[in-house]
């Protein structure tokens, strides 16, 4: 099952600042809500999520129960050359998720 989806513009030229959309499939249980039997669902939220583009960590977020289920994050990044975007997260239960996608960058001269 694909737990993470990333999206950015189709054609990226070098030096461009691109918008990255990141969607993670996660329940983000707050610990305040009950299930159908009236039992409290224990807290299980993503503790830390990092995005690394090539060698550089470009985005880091520490969410809490205040972030909605299936969290969506949008941020900008300056793309200089083709590199691999790696996303990693850890939640309260110790589950980890990882996702890799290549960010293809066209040279600025070819445009």
């Amino acid at each position: 099952m694909n737990l993470i989806r990333m999206q950015w513009p189709e054609r990226i030229t070098a030096g461009e600042v691109v918008k990255v959309r990141l969607l993670v499939q996660h329940p983000m249980d707050t610990g305040y809500l009950q299930d159908l039997l009236g039992k409290l669902v224990p807290r299980n939220v993503i503790r830390l999520l990092t995005c690394t583009l090539g060698p550089q960590e470009v985005f880091r977020v520490e969410p809490s129960s205040g972030i909605a289920a299936n969290p969506l994050f949008e941020f900008f990044v300056r793309a200089t050359d083709t590199a691999e975007m790696r996303v990693e997260w850890v939640d309260d239960r110790g589950n980890r998720g990882e996702f890799r996608q290549t960010l293809t960058v066209w040279p600025a001269a070819s445009k």
């Binding site: 600042v17 707050t30 305040y32 809500l33 009950q34 299930d35 159908l36 409290l40 583009l53 550089q56 470009v58 985005f59 880091r60 977020v61 520490e62 969410p63 809490s64 129960s65 205040g66 972030i67 909605a68 289920a69 969290p71 969506l72 994050f73 949008e74 941020f75 900008f76 990044v77 300056r78």
Partner: protein, 165 residues
């Protein structure tokens, strides 16, 4: 005669005691759901209470930070929010952290983002949960150590902390 009087006295006292116990038990049952939902956070925090644990005396100014979110959010479980900070985002002058703070949520610090000059633009979007109508504050920490913040009032018709779905 005296014996009868004392027994009658005792029964009346017992009656009162039972009544008091019943009342206490009823009060406890009434208070239970509120305690189970941990809704002691119904109190609204002041701006200083929200900002001070993070800024710790550093200069704070209300400028350069803009929050875009719906004025009226029907469902507090999912409120889209965009935070834009006016910053050149160079190595010398950039936004290093963005904090999303809630006035009413049980967890005040909803999210902490770390940015840097490689981002090019200090703008982030996410979807938050809100426990009722409140003011949401976005606090940005600059590379110089100063802070900027922006705030927005959001009316929430349905709190994120009561719906079990």
């Amino acid at each position: 005669m005296t014996l009868v009087q004392t027994t009658r006295h005792l029964t009346r006292r017992l009656w009162l005691q039972h009544g008091a116990r019943l009342g206490l038990a009823w009060a406890a049952v009434q208070a239970w759901p509120a305690q189970a939902q941990k809704m002691e956070s119904g109190r609204l925090l002041s701006l200083a209470e929200m900002l001070d644990p993070i800024t710790q005396g550093a200069p704070v100014r209300q400028q350069d930070v803009r929050i875009t979110a719906p004025i009226l959010a029907d469902n507090g479980s999912l409120v889209p929010m965009t935070v834009q900070v006016q910053s050149p985002m160079t190595a010398a002058d950039h936004v290093s952290h963005v904090y999303l703070l809630s006035q009413r949520n049980p967890v005040t610090r909803m999210a902490v983002f770390q940015l840097g000059p490689w981002n090019g633009r200090a703008e982030i979007s996410t979807r938050v949960r809100l426990a009722g109508t409140q003011t949401v504050v976005a606090l940005a920490r600059l590379s110089s150590g100063e802070f900027r913040y922006g705030q927005m009032d959001i009316i929430v018709t349905e709190s994120a902390c009561v719906d079990a779905s």
